[in-house]
Structures are given as C-alpha cells and as structure tokens.
Symmetry: D2
Subunit: 281 residues, 4 copies
Amino acid sequence: MENTIFSSIAKNFKAVFLDSYGVVKNYNGLIEGVQRSIDFLRSEGIAIRILTNDASRSQEQQYDNFRRLGLQGIEVEEIITSGMLARQFLKHKILNGKIAYLGTEDSAHYILQSGRQSVPVREVNLDDMEAIAGFAFLDDEGFDWNVDINKTINLINRKNMPVIVANSDKVYPVSKNDVSVATGGIAKLVENILNRKFIHFGKPDSQMFNFAFDDLNRSGHFEKTDILMVGDTLATDILGGNKFGIKTMLVLSGNTRPELVDILIGVTGIIPDYIGESIVK
Amino acid sequence: MENTIFSSIAKNFKAVFLDSYGVVKNYNGLIEGVQRSIDFLRSEGIAIRILTNDASRSQEQQYDNFRRLGLQGIEVEEIITSGMLARQFLKHKILNGKIAYLGTEDSAHYILQSGRQSVPVREVNLDDMEAIAGFAFLDDEGFDWNVDINKTINLINRKNMPVIVANSDKVYPVSKNDVSVATGGIAKLVENILNRKFIHFGKPDSQMFNFAFDDLNRSGHFEKTDILMVGDTLATDILGGNKFGIKTMLVLSGNTRPELVDILIGVTGIIPDYIGESIVK
Amino acid sequence: MENTIFSSIAKNFKAVFLDSYGVVKNYNGLIEGVQRSIDFLRSEGIAIRILTNDASRSQEQQYDNFRRLGLQGIEVEEIITSGMLARQFLKHKILNGKIAYLGTEDSAHYILQSGRQSVPVREVNLDDMEAIAGFAFLDDEGFDWNVDINKTINLINRKNMPVIVANSDKVYPVSKNDVSVATGGIAKLVENILNRKFIHFGKPDSQMFNFAFDDLNRSGHFEKTDILMVGDTLATDILGGNKFGIKTMLVLSGNTRPELVDILIGVTGIIPDYIGESIVK
Amino acid sequence: MENTIFSSIAKNFKAVFLDSYGVVKNYNGLIEGVQRSIDFLRSEGIAIRILTNDASRSQEQQYDNFRRLGLQGIEVEEIITSGMLARQFLKHKILNGKIAYLGTEDSAHYILQSGRQSVPVREVNLDDMEAIAGFAFLDDEGFDWNVDINKTINLINRKNMPVIVANSDKVYPVSKNDVSVATGGIAKLVENILNRKFIHFGKPDSQMFNFAFDDLNRSGHFEKTDILMVGDTLATDILGGNKFGIKTMLVLSGNTRPELVDILIGVTGIIPDYIGESIVK
C-alpha cells in the first residue's frame, strides 16, 4: 500500500477499470480535471472500462450523461452497469411470464426489455399473480414507499419466484454529507423482514469484474495482472477487485473520508494496493 | 410441551400475561369467545396483564379500543406497552433538549410528553440541530417514507445521540395473509444502513417482563413460578417469557401457522411449555 | 459526555455498579490504586455491586480471587455474575432431566447444582439422549475444542431443548494486546452453524441490571437516578446501563483504547454519560 | 420446477456441472449406481465438470480418491476445487512474504505452493511477523483448535493483511445425521470475533462457475443455456448456478432432506429448475 499519483501507477497497466460515482463524477458534476486523466489514459493506449452499480440508467443514458457534463472520450460500450448483469440473468433464467418491479418505468424499460412484459408493483393484483414469474428491485425512485414496499413484501411472501436486486448498493451520496437509500437498501429491508436472501448484482461480486474482463479480451489480450481497478469504496470497488485478483487503487474523491482511511482499512481488512487523492492527482 | 386447553392450564397459575394482537384481538376485531376466557380468569381470581409491543397508542387508547371492540374486564392499568418503557428511558436518560421522531403526533404526544419538546423529522433543520438531544422511532405511520427515512438517516449520521425504538416488532399483520412494516422494521433499515444498533424496547426483552412482574407485585405476592405468558409469536412472547424464567404457552390464533409450528420450534429452538389453539379453547 | 475524575462523579450517586475485568482488575492483577477507590466509596456510604459476565466462577470464587489479589472491602453478596442468572433460569425452566454442558467441572458444579445431574458433552451418548433436558455453554475451558464443539453441534441439532449461554462475552483479554475466545464466542459459532439463537445471560441484557437493582433495594431505597454504572466496554456495560436507564461512565483502563474512544462512540452510537481514565483517577 | 429423472433432463444439455459430495459420493463412498450416470453422460457426449468446495485436497488427490472408490471416467482436469481459485488469488495478489495458515501440511502444500514459503499458525511468532504477508484458512484439520484459533485471532488482529478462506462451507457431513465444522465455519468464528469479512472462495460465488465455464470453452463452444448445474445444497450449488444464469437441478442424495425440500425452497427463495432423487434415478 503506497500513497501515490494516479498517472504514475496507471501507466504500468494495460487497462483500468474506473468506478463512476466518486471517481469520474460526483453530486456536483464532473470531478475537476478528470478530462485530463481520461486523455492521459487514451494517449498511453490504456484501455478503459467504467464499472458502475448504477442500474437506474442504461449504457446509453450514462453515456449521454457524461457528455452532458462535458466529458469526452468514454464510449457507450465501455460502460458496464450492474443492470446489464441483471438483464442477462433474467434473459437466461426467466423465460415466460411478467416481471414485477420496484423502480422507474425507465429502469424497467431497459432492464426488463427483451420482448417480455413487466409490471410495476402498484399495478399488481395480489389475488391474481398467476402471470408473475419474477421480481426485480430496479431503482429507489418511481414508487410510493409507504404503499409499495409493503405490497412488495406481501407479493414476494405469497409467491415463490426468483427475486433480483439490480444494484446492491445500500446508499448513494446526494451531497457532501448526505446520502439517500439506494435500491440495495430497500431490498435489504425486504430481505430482513422476510428472512430471505435475494440475488444481487453489481460490485463487489466477481461477476461484474468477469463481465468487464471478458469484454476487454474481445478487443485484445489481457491478463489479470494487466488491470488496475480504481474506486472510492472499500466494500465494493476494492474488495471486488482484490477478490477478482487484480490490483486495486482507492481514491479519496468520493465517499471514503481521508481522515478515516487507515481506520477503515484496519477495521474492514480490505486493503487496496494503492491509495491516491483522485484520478486527477 | 403439550397440546392443551388454555383454561385447564391457566387455572394452575396465579397470574397470566397475555399478548394483545393474535391472542385477544386480530385484524378482524376481538377473537371470538375471548370474553369468556377473560371472565374465567376473573372468576378464578387470576391476575391479568396485557403485554403489547404496540407503541403507537397509550394505555388509555388501548383500553378504549378494547371497549369499542366490546371487551369488558381489562383495566387501563393492566395494559403494559413497550412505549411505556421507551418513555421511562427518555425520562431518565435525556434531561434536556428536543427529541426528534418518526411517527404520528399522537404517538409523540404520549411517549415524549413530560414537559419536553418534540419535533417530527420533517420539521428538523439538518443545519441547525443544536437543540436535538435524542431520536425516537415511534410509529410506521404519520410521515412520508420516501422523504423522511432518508432525512432520518442523515440526521442520525450527523449527530451522535441516543436513538430509541419504541416497538421493536418488524411487521404487523393487516389481514389473514398480509403484513405491514412496523416501526422496528424501519429502524432496522436505518440501523443496517448506518451499521449501528439502536436501543430497542418491547418483548422479547426482559425489561418488559420485569416491568409487568414489578407491577404485579405491587398488588400482591407473586413468584415467577406463579406466572404464565401466553402469546402467538415464538420470537417475542415465548422467547421473552422463557428467558425471564416463567412458563410459556403458544397459541395458534395469531401469526404462527398451525402446520408450521413443529418446524418453527425446531428451526428456532424456542420451545413453549404449552401449545394451544387459542385462549378460548 | 464529559471527561472527568471518577470520585467527583461517583459522590453524586447513592450506588455504583462496577464491571470487574478492566475496571477493578486486569490480566496483571488489581488495577493500581483501586483499593483507594473502593475505600472512598465506602467512606462516602455509596453502595457497591460488582456486575461481571464471568460465569466460570461462583460468587465465592470471585470473592476469594479479589482477596488473593489483595483487594479488601468487597463482600461475597455484592458480586453478581451472569452465571447466577443462568442458574436461576435453569431452576425455573428445567425441572427434570440432565443438563449437558461445555465447560469446566467447576463451572458445572456451581451453575448446574440444585440437586440436578449434569453431564459434560464428552460423556454424552448421542444415541441415547432421552435423559438430556437442556444444554449450557458455561466456559471456554475444560474440553477439547476439536472434538467437543462438533459433538455439541450434533447434540443440539438432534434434540430440541433449551440451550443457554451463561456468559455472552465473545472474547476476554489475556494480555495487553491479545484476547481469547470466551464462552459466548463458542456459542456464537454453534448458533451460526445451526442458524439458531440461544438464550444468553449477562450484560448488556437488562436482566443483569435488574437483578442488581432488586438486590440493592433489599438493603435500602434506590431509584434508577441514584445509580452509576462503570465499565470499560461500550457494548456491554455502557449499552446495558443506558438501556436500563441509569447513568453510565466509561473507563479507559480496560479494553477500550483511549485513541479510539471517539471513533467507537461515533460508530456504535453508544454514548456514555461520562468518560474517565479509570476509577482511580 | 419439476420432479424428474436426471438422464431425461441432462440429455438436453451440452455440459453438466456436478457437485462432488452428496451427488457423486457421500460419507459411505460412491453413491450407488453413479458409474452408470457418468457412463451415460459420456455416451451422450455431454461434457462434465466436478465443482467442489473441498479445498483440502488437490485435483490429483480428488481424482485418486474417485479411483480408489471405484469411479471411472472423471479426468483430473475436469475437477475444479475452490482451492484452485484461492491459489490463483494468492499468486496474483500476494507477491512476497510468507503465508500463515490453519490447515494440514498437505493443504498448504498444494494451495500455497508456487515457490512461496508458508507457515502453520502454531509456528508463527506473534512478536516477529514482519515476513507474514497473508493468511489462509485451508482446512479444519491439522491443528489444535483450543490453541491455534485464539492465536489466529490475535495474529490477524495485530497485522492487517489479506485473509482468504479456501472453502467457505461452514459444515460437512460425516454420517447420515451428523456434521463437522468445516474451514468456512472456523473462518466465520474469527470473522465474527474480529467483526471482519475475509475473502471467501467456492460456490455460491460466481467465480467458481466462471472458472468452470471458461475452462469448458477452451475445449469447445458453450453458451450458458447449454449447461446444467447439479447439486445437493440450495445455498451453494443452486444459488450459485441460478445467479450465474445456468439451469439448476437439486438432487436429494445429499444434505437436503426430501421431506423438507418444499419448506426450504419457500424459506430461502432459492428455486432450482429441476428436482430429482439423485443423478442415478
């Protein structure tokens, strides 16, 4: 573990995996100077993948968002979201029937697509669930928590079927100090009430890293030793990267507070190979 | 453990502790025939206490509710709610300042009374919390979950202070099949997000049983062996009673389904001394 | 919360509850100067109770140990151990049959006494358990972990019966830096494997505080506001005292490291009313 | 979910992943008739991989064991153990220093090989750990639990380093009714005491399935829809297969008791696509 400058580390790798929130952007917009870092990686011929647990927006929407914020040089297909893994699962494992969901129509559109019908929880008739074949936690927005969380609990309790969580993050930051409950947090509440474990997608799960690794290897030859994972969160980015067997760098531009780094590493036992201020410095 | 008739068991004790929901009443009103059971206990001179984790209503309100449903013979002071323990804690441990809360105004009125000011979460100014000295989860109603749960998380995260949960039940039944998230479930979500443990009141905690035991002994002399706890829930009524060292009877008129009793006892290891259909039969 | 001198705080109370390990003694023997503190309390007429989760030794043995270490002025009946609560439970709830246990013969002798037969796990015949009516985790010593932990798991899995944990502490300190797994840690392993929750005795459970409170009130009149709990551990002494509704003081002479106090209080949300170096200063 | 015959299901797939314990063999030796099933798969040209969480023995040792039991037709390289994933991790992530371990010398030999020195916990000097760069839980045998588990706790507590668990199973069966604590159970005890999460290898983690999937694709072209996972345990085999997006079949020849299948599926929400008695019938 060394405190260090991103560029001097990154140049030893053939590819970098970047978390999006806390590394490339935050609640304010782009992290200042991040364009320079992306340009540097491109000029060095280092491959880039963005690995994000944000399942509320498709690749294209995340791409558009980068553009709107003014970031150039990240392509649509370089963005990998946990929603893509959720979609893949649903495609392989649930062949018939409707999927009920908690989330926005938008999130349902891109994750549950593939010719299949989906239905928001509020429209489910608990006394006629014959057609419901699965359930998906997609987003923390788009529904009335007071009503629809209870309905979700009763729906899942009444009918045994696969239940997936498209984004396992429990919270997301909304300002310097404050957070908001994310999809994974709501799913956790329901898991806790029903004493069940749903199927979660997203970092730190190896599947996300493997998806990116396979994708990378379709455009060249990469070994695990060629890749650096950069993230702002020990429990997702660093744990996942460590477990997948690639080098990891923790940056302090997101939700890990600089003054707590040492304590958090000690307490969690999740040890990044490198620590830096941001991908800019 | 024996399958048996309530009256033939109860008559061997000098006092019975009855859970309210699932024993005396349910989502439909009074459990049919329960008046006869109360009358029987009275005629035998057996003392009664109602031990309920419902913290949303005061003793008086619970009493009025029994009356409205048509039940006679339970006195105000025989009703013991987890809210009373929460109130006692606040009185002893938080001497100055306001208490912020999630719940109805009604619940705040009776738990947070005692001359102290209380403030619902929605009215708290996160940038001016000087005066806030504690936080209480009081009820699952009376606030906007989408907004106020997030605000609660940020409030508790910003200011370190005692946080109490007046009712630690995670759900309550709303019909034969369906449940609703209770105060304890919402508190659990927040505990999970913040990785904290709040101070919970209510069964199975010994404090509730001790409160009832002390109260009983102000009107006579009772040993633990003189008391029978009757409840419909293994994890609260029976576990709590067992741990307190009194005999326990599980009744199947509430949320323990008859066909699952044996499995649930095996899985949890919580073993009632007696099992019966209800306090009526 | 104020940083402060023990004696200047204690003199405002009519009684103090003292944790034993980390407050009165440690792995080295008596904490230096502790005799003066006990003498001070006596001279002020302040009642004393020792509340210890050590269930491996009886009141008398703990008393003898204080004497051997050179401490005067603590009487046998002022020592309250979690083992006493376990014994009380067994007496009320298990009327017939043998109790199987993990622990030393000594611990079995004093907890399981009361005319009843007990049997160490190693002597249990798994194919003839008719006579076994309960199980007790008593001590981390006195048995072969490799063999007897597995046997315990199979024993409890085969026969459904009350299982108690006489000391719920997961570890105890054996030197400045090192700890040893305590009874509660071994019980936790078995609970985890069997996905069960046993009946635990000891702080932070209210029962221990209530036992001490009742005992105190047999020799005078004490309100909760008259009592100060002093301990070295947030999760047992301070949480338990807070919940019971009495004032609490954290001392740094035991297993809470001074440099981590603020962080630990922030992380756990367990807030002592006072913090001091030890009961000496 | 359909109750069905293994061969009639398997013939619709191009490859089957078989769990070892409970599917191919058990505490008695080979499951009767299993040779016919392997022969059937071979005759149909269906590819086979054995996916086992047993990390105590190498591929070669597991192969030899199958042979000794009389099973023909499984090749060394078709056996995939969680220990192989642990070894891969150590190779990529721990480049220098010794690895301390709990387990047999044998397990250390094959997992920690690769030119690196390893040291059993009993030989570690806690006051001179400079050279220790990682820790591995390898096996539940080969050490004195009373002594070495405590030493492990203090070792990991004193030095922050990557800690891996080569087999995350908590127990393994030793007879029809009885189990023994496995490596994952011991690791869980230590995680619980230290409040940490180590890096676990083995099913249900996707990494194991991905390893097998990649391996399979080196000898042909396989889609996820071409593969059937067969196992006796919902929480590892079926959950892992489901999450990886392949079809799953639960067999009742191992540790899932036939009379509890429906209840366990309902309680866990882990739903196999097929259920059969064994791979024989």
